[in-house]
Symmetry: C2
Subunit: 263 residues, 2 copies
């Protein structure tokens, strides 16, 4: 199934994606729900982030090509292949179609195309086998990151946490298995920049959920960015950036300057 | 005025503190509200974090004595007296009276007693003078911090973001002025560990809000921890830690081991 959160005539709903249509549901995918008879075409609705998480977390360095870029940029050896957790910040999240705002101070704002895990139920100290049952599904994510404040700050707040720097969506797909290998493609202005596959992750989705749950409770709706694939590049106002993941869909967001077209 | 968020007979409400009683309100302190005739004694209610923020942020190194301790612990010179922003994470927040849970992996979990700013209205690029109008009020905070993962991680998620490691409360006081100097006292098991005054902050509350708002939107209910005062010390299960701020009140939380009495 594919669950979206949608704004329809000024009100927010969860919906079930059926081809080119969304069927609104009563309740939520994180609890009990039932389908309604209300159906809207996808081009008549506004996509919101598919969840409203308490925690938006991420891990670093999960693909070899991205680690190489990080080392070249920082001039320092990468901390290794252990899972490196960090906080993205739920205030950064926007849905499919919403603009990524390049703020006035920001220098070198890069896209980072990632598979995003969506937690379905509260979990703590899950084994790798149990982690499977904690996951509702997966969505596409763009871990938009500013490179100038990266090394300077005590956390990634200015580098990654700014509102609009966390596009996720368009929906949560519950019937895909990233451990079997899903193609992940990044496009800017329609041109393919990079193509990889989720099977090249050092740490798979069950490892990641199990690891994170050793340290914290994970709550329904929480999202975990699973690491950037490929080499990231700077975005500029006017660009449109797309993250497509096989079996999930395509997350597309325009890039605007602060004060010009922001939400 | 003093606004609290309270759990009464299984339901959550905002309330106005009147001496030893709470008067429930309709609406919220971040919008329109009106007082009701429902009054409860403070010992019959459960305190929740006074806000449900989208962003729980903090700054580092805002008192000279705490910087000296950080330098001694890390063996490195502190980054200086510029404002150093970081993300606490809203999932960490608990209210007055709720237990701080020492997780099994945690080593050296310290209290950090802090004044916490509560944002009242959406703001962006506020001047220092405008910052005043963005603030609803102030509450007491305990920026519980684990020292072992401090230097190792890319952010403070494991050091500061764990659920229950962000006690805030008991309420938001709207009529105090930290720039005029408020005594701030930390007690463990009734014994005073440290006493300082908010006038010793390097960066006052208007500086902090103005600075943070240059980088991000601040939203109603967001909280900003303004830096630890004094020397922090490790907590152990069985302790009760109190943060008292003049004109606000006393935030008190018991410390428990994971699996023993956690909420």
């Amino acid at each position: 199934m594919r669950f979206a959160r949608l704004r329809v005539r000024g009100r927010e709903h969860y919906g079930l994606i059926e081809g080119e249509q969304a069927r609104l549901i009563r309740g939520s995918p994180f609890g009990r729900w039932e389908a309604t008879t209300q159906v809207h075409s996808l081009d008549s609705v506004q996509f919101r982030p598919p969840t409203q998480p308490l925690q938006a977390l991420g891990i670093g360095g999960n693909y070899a090509d991205h680690i190489a870029q990080a080392e070249a940029t920082s001039g320092k050896a990468h901390a290794g292949r252990g899972i490196q957790p960090w906080v993205k910040g739920a205030a950064s999240l926007i849905g499919h179609g919403a603009p990524i705002v390049i703020t006035r101070e920001a220098q070198e704002v890069h896209y980072e195309a990632e598979l995003v895990i969506v937690i379905g139920r509260r979990c703590r100290r899950a084994s790798k086998a149990e982690a499977r049952d904690c996951i509702l599904g997966y969505t596409c994510g763009n871990d938009v990151s500013e490179k100038a404040s990266w090394e300077k700050d005590l956390s990634f707040w200015r580098a990654k946490g700014i509102p609009s720097w966390g596009p996720v969506g368009p929906w949560v797909a519950t019937d895909v298995d990233p451990t079997k290998g899903l193609d992940l493609i990044v496009r800017v202005n329609g041109q393919e920049h990079h193509r990889t596959n989720t099977k090249f992750m050092f740490h798979d989705v069950y490892d990641i959920v199990s690891y994170m749950s050793q340290y914290t409770w994970l709550f329904p709706g929480d999202v975990i960015f699973t690491g950037a694939a490929g080499v990231s590049r700077a975005l500029k106002p006017g660009d449109v950036v797309e993250v497509e993941i096989e079996g999930i869909g395509t997350l597309s967001n325009p890039v605007v300057s602060e004060g010009l077209g922001e939400g």
